[in-house]
Structures are given as structure tokens and as C-alpha cells.
Amino acid sequence: MAESLEQAAQQSFPRTAACLPEIFDFMDRFFAHAGVGDEHRMPMQFVVEEWFTNLVKYSRGGTRDILLDLKRQDGRLVLSLTDFGVERFDIREVRDVDVNLDLKHRTPGGLGIHLLKRMVDDIGYEYVDGRSTTTFVKKLE
């Protein structure tokens, strides 16, 4: 019980990309503490950056801090981001972009979600009373 409590951490961050260095620090400390292998650091930071900045840029109605929740549980890493007082948006319904277009037809848009989906094993979504929580799961072994 005591151990499982230690393997979780939560922190809220203001809605600005300027927070990213702080977010990465927070994740690094949790990963070290929870003994998550180094090979997961960059991909999981990628997932959190992409989704955090999307909430900042696109969440309709969002004004409050965004909650980042990290857990190590049953051999899996579970990252979730919760946005309060916003409209519903389910990342799982976003269609994939075509990454095989030539330069002329490529735009930078849409790459974030396309890439983050490739870095996790599962994605969950929950929406209750304006509270929008997206959960990313990565198997550790």
C-alpha cells in the first residue's frame, strides 16, 4: 500500500507553453522516483507536451490550470491531463494526417496527435460536468 501511494504524483500548471520546462522537471523527478526506465523519458514528455499545448491552444472555455497526473501501476505508466470547465473533446476521434504528402502539400498541423498516438499503448477519455480527462497508457515491460 505504502509503495503504491509513492508511485503517483499530481501537479497543476498554468495555460502557457512557458511552463514546459517545469512540466519536464516534474516528470523527470517522478520517473526517477518511480524507477521508470530512461528510454521512456523523451517519448512520454512528447505525449504530455503535445496534449498540454493542445489544451492551451484549443480547449473551448478553458481558463483554469491544467492538472497533470502521473502514476506507475501494474507495470504500466499512466499519464493523464485534466482540463476544467471546458467543452468535450475526445482525442480518439481525431483522424490521422497523411504524412506521405510531398513538401508542397505538407503543413505542420496535425502532426502532434499523429505522433503521440504512436508513442502510447492505449488512450482513454472521460468527460463529466465540464471536466475533461485524457489518459495515456504505456506498458513498461
Binding site: C19, M42, E49, L101, L103, L111, H114, L115
Partner: protein
């Protein structure tokens, strides 16, 4: 933090972390370029879609005048991200030599 500078052979050297908080800085640097350059990413630990966006916009602008960025010493997380983005079709990419 992202460090961005010109190396000894005129190549652009990116090191550190190329995340959304560093995109404006990279954009400002890239805006000064008018010719083809190698971009050495051997010490770049991380790149997000914000970083990819800056590289893509620069490539588009340079290609309009027949120039291009070439990414060299690509490895690890950066290599993976470039690959899944289909950037191997847009940039000439040279992998890092295997670690000795």
C-alpha cells in the same frame, strides 16, 4: 532549453531540447538563413511537433529558391520522431554513426 548556433564548418548546431517554449527562438535564427545548410542534431535530445513545424517552414522557404536543410547525425528519439512524421521524404537525413 535549446541552444542554436553556427558550428565550425558553417553547419547549424542544435542542442538541448526543441520544445514549444523554444520555437520562437529557433524561428528567429532560421529566418536569417538564405542558403543550404547542414543541421547537426547529434546533441539534440528532444523535439516536439513545435520543433518539427519550424524545420518544415524553413525547408519550404529555402526550397522555393532551390536551397535546403539537411539533417545530420540523427539518432534516438529525434530519429524516431522524424521517421514517424514522414520527414525522411522532405529532408535529406543522415543517421549518426553507431556509438563506439
Amino acid at each position: 532549453m535549446l541552444d542554436i548556433r553556427v558550428g565550425e564548418k558553417g553547419e547549424i548546431v542544435l542542442s538541448g531540447r526543441f520544445d514549444a517554449s523554444q520555437a520562437v527562438k529557433a524561428e528567429t535564427f532560421m529566418a536569417a538563413l538564405t542558403e543550404s545548410r547542414n543541421v547537426d542534431v547529434s546533441d539534440l535530445q528532444y523535439v516536439s511537433s513545435a520543433g518539427l513545424g519550424v524545420l518544415l517552414a524553413t525547408q519550404k522557404r529555402l526550397m522555393a529558391t532551390g536551397h535546403a536543410l539537411k539533417l545530420v547525425n540523427v539518432r534516438g528519439h529525434v530519429r524516431e520522431v522524424l521517421h514517424y512524421s514522414g520527414f525522411d521524404q522532405i529532408f535529406e537525413i543522415e543517421a549518426a554513426p553507431p556509438a563506439s
